[in-house]
């Protein structure tokens, strides 16, 4: 049988034609094994981490990445780094979506030269303390979630190998943050930050304790993004990965702030049926949802979509019909993770979908209201969520600058003072979110509106909220706690804080003891 190809009109238009079919050219034998056998012998399924690392082609000086969906319960980063150290790797760039206090063993790998430099959203605990005191020669690059997505997309952050822990994965690499079968008690819900790395990294290794039958649907990461799958006994400590449900605060000061924040939202001009919101996981943010709920019911207002790191409090509203849809880049508690698994209107999204500035339709740009926390706010409305009042790194940028820039009304909630530490200051230690993107600062002792938003100020005054200037808040705080001595630094830069467009917004210096 032979086809006359030249009879096809305009043959020159079809460049991809492979010529005539012939059995002789198609020599690959038909795979007649069972699905079970095929899964067992999947080429992506490798014996152990060593093999996966060797196959990935990782070399000294390359960039490796990790996600932080396992939070304080993460075993992946320490496990992989120990293996890389054992295998003799040097000078690696560790680019994690974030790091927490359980990652202090990285200090040894920094000292021994396995890690040359770090990129992350945040640092906490002993590792943060050591870096603030000059542990590393090359400064840590801090990126927001949206900024990291953009850096990955633009090639500024090129990931050679991504090591992504997953609570479930099949033999071909379909991975997710939960499982519909063979639940091992570990779930993290959304894999939003891992999705981004899986899509762009040159090689992707999924590390799972739970190998499930093909297809692991629904999946957070599709097999097309995955090169190798490794099964290990443990990927994390469930207790550290997430708590049952984020507890509702009984702290009267947080409740007071939350009540003010809810009133600010209700009177912002953005409280209408179908409005969109994002709430942080702090006590006051969570309580804000409770106060808002009462008025949503009274005024028959529903949330069009809730975005972000998602908590059980938001899920409750979804189940009550007060929130129509949830876009979830990171599930904060078990309640949220279970909802992602069971409710089809609770959608998993990637870091880029969430917040990348390269994407004009990015979800943060569709926000009416965001409620954010702060370690410090200064009289220029600049916000610090990264360094403590003692100058030491102890936080994470997260989606702070992304949501503040995107939301029509960005609200920062914070107590005026924490113990003897003032929250409203002349100059924040570290600028993470520029003041021009912050609209309202809500404290227990007054509400300040950015002068750039006279419209909002008028609305809040009309609603008889305790509006005052940010300078008044600052001097009130100082009157209570006294004048703080300035923190002393050396001239060594230990951290570079980037804004979401990859520009540098501030530098963190080594703290002088």
């Amino acid at each position: 049988m032979s086809l006359e190809l030249s009879s096809i009109p305009h043959l020159e238009e079809f460049c991809a034609l492979g010529g005539s079919y012939s059995d002789e050219q198609n020599l690959q034998p038909k795979d007649v094994r069972t699905l079970a056998e095929r899964s067992l012998h999947s080429k992506k399924l490798v014996n152990d981490l060593d093999e996966a690392i060797r196959l990935s082609g990782l070399r000294d000086g390359m960039t490796i990445s990790f996600h932080h969906h396992f939070r304080g319960g993460d075993y992946i980063i320490n496990m992989v780094m120990a293996k890389l150290a054992e295998m003799g790797f040097k000078d690696l760039v560790l680019a994690a979506s974030s790091l927490t206090d359980c990652h202090f063993p990285l200090m040894d790998h920094i000292k021994s030269g396995v890690i040359r430099r770090i990129e992350t959203s945040g640092l906490r605990g002993k590792l943060a303390d050591a870096i603030s005191h000059g542990l590393m020669d090359i400064p840590v690059v801090f990126r927001s979630h949206g900024g990291r997505a953009y850096a990955i997309e633009s090639g500024e952050l090129a990931i050679d190998v991504a090591f992504l822990g997953a609570p479930s994965c099949d033999a071909f690499g379909n991975a997710n943050g939960y499982s519909r079968e063979g639940d091992t008690g570990i779930m993290c819900g959304s894999m939003g930050y891992a999705k981004q790395d899986a899509e762009y990294a040159k090689k992707v290794i999924i590390i799972t304790n739970n190998l499930v039958p093909y297809p692991n649907a629904p999946f957070g990461i599709p097999e097309s993004n995955v090169d190798y799958v490794v099964q290990v006994p443990e990927i994390g400590n469930p207790a550290g990965i997430m708590s049952g449900a984020t507890r509702f605060t009984k702290n009267p000061k947080e409740l007071l702030i939350a009540e003010y924040a809810a009133k600010v939202i209700e009177n912002s001009g953005h409280f209408y049926d179908g409005f969109s919101m994002q709430m942080g996981s702090g006590g006051a943010s969570l309580a804000t949802i409770r106060f808002l709920r009462e008025d949503m019911i009274k005024q028959n207002i529903k949330v069009g979509f809730a975005l972000g790191g998602i908590t059980g409090s938001v899920v409750e509203l979804l189940e009550e019909g007060l929130v129509r849809k949830i876009l979830d880049v990171q599930s904060f508690d078990l309640r949220a993770a279970e909802s992602l698994k069971n409710n089809r209107f609770h959608q998993q999204i990637s870091a880029s979908y969430y917040a990348s500035p390269s994407n004009p339709g990015t979800a943060v740009n569709q926000l009416d209201v965001v409620v954010l926390s702060a370690l410090e706010v200064d009289t220029g409305f600049n916000v610090n969520v990264l360094t403590g009042s003692d100058g030491v790194i102890r936080g994470a940028i997260g989606g702070h600058p992304d949501t503040a820039a995107g939301a029509s009304v960005s609200i920062v909630v914070a107590p005026l003072t924490r113990g003897r530490i003032p929250t409203i200051v002349n100059h924040v230690n570290t600028i993470v979110t520029p003041g021009r993107s912050i609209d309202v600062v809500v404290t227990d002792q007054g509400i300040a509106v950015n002068p750039a938003r006279p419209d909002l100020k008028d609305r809040l005054i009309a609603a008889r909220l305790p509006v005052c200037s940010i300078d008044e808040l600052r001097s009130k705080a100082e009157k209570i706690v006294g004048k703080a001595d300035p923190i002393l630094y050396t001239d060594k830069v230990v951290g570079i804080v980037t804004y979401r467009d990859n520009s540098i917004i501030d530098l963190i210096y080594e703290v002088k003891e």
């Binding site: 009042s389 003692d390 113990g419 003897r420 706690v481 006294g482 703080a484 001595d485 923190i487 002393l488």
Partner: protein
């Protein structure tokens, strides 16, 4: 015990720092002050504070001021601070000082 471990009250009653005394708690916004007879002469302050960098000097000078007001010239002060405000520091030091002197003839007036 050094002879100058004294509190001189306004009436002129002289009382010695007789023992180690504690005031305050380890809770947030409090300061636990332990006052004992001094061993080196003068006021010796050992401060551990969650806000050392920002307010360590302010706390030390408040402790010194209160002891001066009470005319205590020789004492060892150990203070564990959890972010206490100035008025709390003052109150805890006063309480510890009177307790250390076994004195309950308080002076409240004459401040304003």
């Amino acid at each position: 015990m050094p002879l100058d471990s004294l509190i001189i009250l306004q009436e002129g009653t002289r009382l010695k720092i007789e023992k180690t005394a504690v005031a305050g708690t380890m809770e947030s916004s409090d300061i636990m002050v332990t006052l004992s007879p001094g061993s080196v002469g003068g006021i010796e302050i050992e401060l551990e504070s969650s806000v050392e960098k920002q307010f360590g000097n302010a706390i030390r000078s408040t402790i010194q001021d209160v002891l001066t007001e009470l005319d205590v010239k020789n004492a060892h002060v150990k203070a564990l601070d959890k972010g206490a405000l100035d008025c709390t520091v003052r109150a805890r030091v006063k309480t510890a000082a009177y307790r250390a002197c076994n004195c309950d003839s308080y002076q409240f007036g004459g401040q304003n």
